[in-house]
């Protein structure tokens, strides 16, 4: 049976994730409510504005149900803002910004500067034979990696792809460069 994957669709780059997951053979649901979240086996938390998503998680009644599912080891892929929301500690966030605290990382928001500093570059990813083309949009930077967190890719000295238990987090946007390998691997790990 096809895995049923949710894409958190409160705000941000959810459409591009949904398209690539469908092309990889998943059944995809857009998630905006707790009822919708209860129906999926795994979740993608897209890029966008982490402050906006944090508020909408709360106002849409998704914060507690999501924390419960994550506690119960639901597989999750968080990119950019998704990584920020999943990290234990956020630097340069809003004081009232929610942190799901699943991955023991310290992440700095907008670490590279404004959009003028956004960039694309090839990176080497653990387990992939050829470089992965990564797009960084006003990207966060990982400043501390906790015990039990595996670094799967770096750009320069900075970790940009990490895994911890059921969570994979990326500082870049694998959904934007047309390379399906990260999504395919996320889906393969579900079965």
């Amino acid at each position: 049976m096809k895995p049923r994957v949710g894409v958190l669709a409160l705000q941000g780059g959810f459409a591009a994730h949904a398209a690539i997951l469908e092309s990889c053979g998943a059944r995809v649901d857009e998630i905006r409510t707790a009822e919708q979240l209860a129906l999926v086996d795994a979740l993608v938390m897209p890029g966008g504005e982490s402050t906006t998503m944090s508020m909408l998680l709360e106002r849409s009644g998704l914060l507690a149900p999501l924390a419960e599912r994550l506690d119960a080891q639901m597989a999750v892929l968080g990119t950019c803002a998704g990584m920020i929301l999943l990290a234990r500690e956020v630097v340069d966030g809003r004081a009232d910004q929610h942190s799901l605290g699943l991955v023991d990382l310290t992440v700095r928001r907008n670490a590279y500067g404004t959009q003028l500093e956004s960039f694309e570059a090839d990176i080497a990813v653990e387990g992939f034979e050829t470089p992965f083309h990564a797009v960084f949009i006003r990207a966060p930077a990982v400043e501390r990696v906790g015990a039990g967190v595996e670094v799967l890719a770096r750009h320069g000295d900075r970790p940009v792809l990490c895994r911890s238990g059921s969570a994979t987090v990326a500082a870049f946007h694998p959904e934007l460069s047309g390379d399906e390998r990260l999504h395919a691997r996320f889906l393969a790990d579900l079965s």
Partner: protein, 300 residues
């Protein structure tokens, strides 16, 4: 690890520029004229703010030449928030755009809301590292702007009126023509579409192949309530710009938060009913037939 080391990073590419627009989808970009308003917008969940001297309804009321904002005001807004900051340059005024890029603005809006600086040419947007958003009333105008390098299109609507009718007209025109082009029978029909729309043929062919613009399509001009936001999202807009609609309402923080939620839950009337309740007065609207100046007619 068998893959080779990181390549040199490339900034200002089309992918990077369109990528930020992709991240603003499902969000609300709010016009602000002070740092205080910018903070209210961010507190309410805006994904970005547009820093400008006067909101469109005041530009309409006061008249005169409307220009790029004072850099000092732009910098105060940048310092006040952590979300992306946009600012407007006049149509064709590439020097204003150069200054906004030097200020580290995240997106430049080459906007009909300001007084045009050039009655023939738009800015060559490929020449910039900063991405541009441009307005459009129809698909031909949208594709011409994309041909010039725009990385986000917003339907123009009629700014400063609080009247959604023009936004609906423009969105229906753009989305409807994309649907008709995607259903075209052969290449000859695409040649005719390019001629009729006065649009670059390769972009018409791209619309035929994908059924959509090569960049995100947002909506602006006239959104004043959560229901307006839901309407334009259901008609195909992927995010909303709200100008006068927030800070000309009776309770801006409440209206701002409600419109943010409405853009997320645009297909859920039960949630929208809750969001829309008890918001106070929306901005006073204008009948478009009574307007002395139609801002949407600016742009070529």
């Amino acid at each position: 690890m068998s893959a080779t080391a990181s390549s040199d990073p490339a900034t200002g590419t089309t992918l990077v520029k369109r990528g930020l627009a992709e991240m603003l989808k499902g969000g609300v970009i709010m016009d602000v004229v002070t740092a205080e308003q910018a903070r209210i917008a961010e507190d309410a969940g805006a994904v970005s703010v547009m820093a400008l001297e006067r909101v469109p309804s005041d530009i309409r009321a006061h008249g005169g030449v409307s220009r790029m904002s004072d850099p000092e005001m732009v910098q105060r807004v940048q310092a006040a928030v952590s979300i992306p900051v946009m600012a407007k340059a006049r149509i064709g005024h590439f020097a204003e755009a150069q200054i906004l890029q030097a200020l580290g603005i995240d997106y430049v809006d080459e906007s009909e809301v300001l007084t045009p600086a050039d009655e023939v040419h738009h800015i060559d947007k490929w020449a910039f590292t900063v991405p541009f958003v441009c307005g459009a009333t129809n698909l031909g105008e949208a594709l011409r702007r994309i041909g010039e390098g725009a990385c986000m299109i917003r339907s123009k609507g009629e700014a400063g009126t609080g009247n959604i009718v023009e936004a609906v007209r423009h969105l229906r025109s753009i989305v409807g023509d994309m649907r008709r082009i995607a259903a075209a029978g052969d290449e000859a029909e695409l040649f005719q579409w390019a001629k009729q729309l006065q649009a670059p043929l390769p972009l018409v062919q791209e619309v035929a192949n994908t059924g959509w613009l090569p960049v995100p399509l947002f909506c602006a001009g006239g959104i004043a309530t959560p229901a307006d936001a839901s309407l334009v999202m259901q008609l195909g807009a992927e995010a909303a710009f709200v100008g006068s609609g927030i800070f000309k309402s009776s309770d801006p923080p409440k209206m701002a938060a409600a419109i943010v939620e409405a853009v997320t839950h645009y297909r859920d009337p039960e949630i929208l009913a809750k969001i829309s309740a008890g918001l106070g007065e929306a901005m006073a609207g204008l009948e478009t037939a009574d307007l002395a100046v139609k801002l949407a007619d600016r742009g070529w």
